[in-house]
Symmetry: C2
Subunit: 276 residues, 2 copies
């Protein structure tokens, strides 16, 4: 059985993403941090890791971008997961009885309209949504947590209210990483690379032109600071196509003319979206 | 006297940035959050706000980008400040005596090499560097805080060790915001805008070409998600030049042809760098 690492406690949204992607045929390896996920892949403790790369409300997850460049593992897949928050508790409390509500600050923010209506409860930020579900399951307080419905199953909690997030358009895109690229055919291949540009006028425009001139569809561009070079950036791009296609090879060779360094994270199938 | 708002307690790096920029001729208005800074400008409680926009090690400050677009205040200036961390305490303790060290998680991370050598102290993450200096000044514990040397002055603390950060290349760029643009001449004008592109092939390439074709130097590009449109982005760009220059006006008009919306944040003098 495939071993898959993710960051967070059991019931975290990264676990849900892993289970959806691999269709349940996996053994799960919860990890304390994103870098622990990368280290487990590196040392062969797991075959795969599932990490968030961007959220449609909050933007990119920079730690993941920086670790991608540090470890240079191939991306073997991706998926989009709709984020649905629920209010969980040990018993079927009336909302007015609940004294404390725990969750990750981002989840609390995403449910602010719902929380405003509950005047009787104090709000406590916690490091993790699933971790919040875990602690209330161990506690004697009349408390609740905001977390996934999977966390309710895992920790034996009741769902007091479903889908309490302000905005339905809350999606997180996850990457599936391995140590070796998946050798297969793709229906709609997508590729990711990053590069550091030479200091030449119009460098970024020239970099994007290597794709535009060949009609390669650019899907995302992200920049990250280079730590030892103040206010210089590493650019990460996703584009439609296979790194083995002739036209993509030519584009990457063209990009190399104006880059100091290029890293390739591989080709993978464009991700599906899972709702709820 | 000009009133200037910044986020953080007295002694925060944003306060140092404000004092360097305005040469001390200001009355300071500490604020709980970035949005409080924007609200104070909006309601005329202060004339100016000073907010961080990017750090050379950690990257962009997204909350600032999102608030820029929400309030659309003109940027009237910028500066770069070298971030130097110090270990502060109430008395000239020997390092071995210190039992607890408080600071913001980023500051703790930036001083990790120094902290590894102090085996006797426990490390406590705190919401703010200057706030950490403030609480140890009120406490009877043998504790220390990592913060600016200005925080030491403000809270009457001793500097046990200076410049304890891992990396000297730690700079934060700050923006100075007002409610009205500063009408003046510039030595080296810089301008900032943001735009939402139409859904057309090669849209970002075409957007950058409006600058490249006119030899306008693009200095920074950043993308932020649009909350109600999953995986679509608002692009923020900084470029050399004045929004009143004929060539820049033409470039912006050209950009408008392929954009749904353009916001202009104004023209300002390219920032100086302040060391330590």
């Amino acid at each position: 059985m495939k071993k898959v690492a993710f960051q967070g406690e059991r019931g975290a949204f990264s676990e849900i993403a892993a289970v959806r992607y691999f269709n349940n045929n996996i053994s799960l390896s919860p990890s304390l941090s994103f870098s622990e996920v990368f280290e487990k892949i590196n040392h062969g403790k797991v075959q795969y890791g599932v990490v968030p790369i961007e959220n449609s409300l909050y933007g990119s997850v920079f730690e993941t971008y920086d670790l991608l460049s540090e470890y240079s593992f191939p991306i073997i897949g991706e998926l989009n997961l709709q984020i649905k928050h629920n209010l969980l508790a040990k018993k079927n409390y009336n909302l007015k009885e609940v004294k404390k509500i725990y969750s990750h600050p981002q989840a609390l923010g995403q449910c602010s309209a719902f929380l405003k209506k509950i005047k009787s409860a104090e709000i406590f930020p916690f490091y993790d949504t699933a971790g919040a579900a875990k602690i209330i399951s161990d506690s004697e307080e009349v408390s609740a947590a905001i977390a996934s419905s999977e966390a309710a199953k895992i920790y034996g909690l009741k769902i007091l209210r479903r889908n309490i997030q302000n905005n339905e358009n809350n999606f997180t895109r996850f990457l599936v990483l391995g140590k070796r690229p998946a050798a297969k055919k793709y229906k709609k291949p997508k590729s990711s690379i990053c590069f550091e540009l030479k200091s030449i006028p119009g460098a970024l425009f020239k970099a994007l032109s290597v794709f535009a001139l060949r009609e390669i569809d650019l899907l995302k561009i992200e920049s990250r600071p280079i730590p030892h070079k103040p206010f210089q950036y590493l650019f990460y791009v996703d584009f439609q196509g296979n790194l083995d296609d002739e036209v993509i090879k030519l584009a990457v060779a063209h990009l190399a003319e104006i880059s100091l360094e290029i890293q390739k994270f591989g080709t993978y199938e464009t991700g599906k979206t899972f709702y709820g």
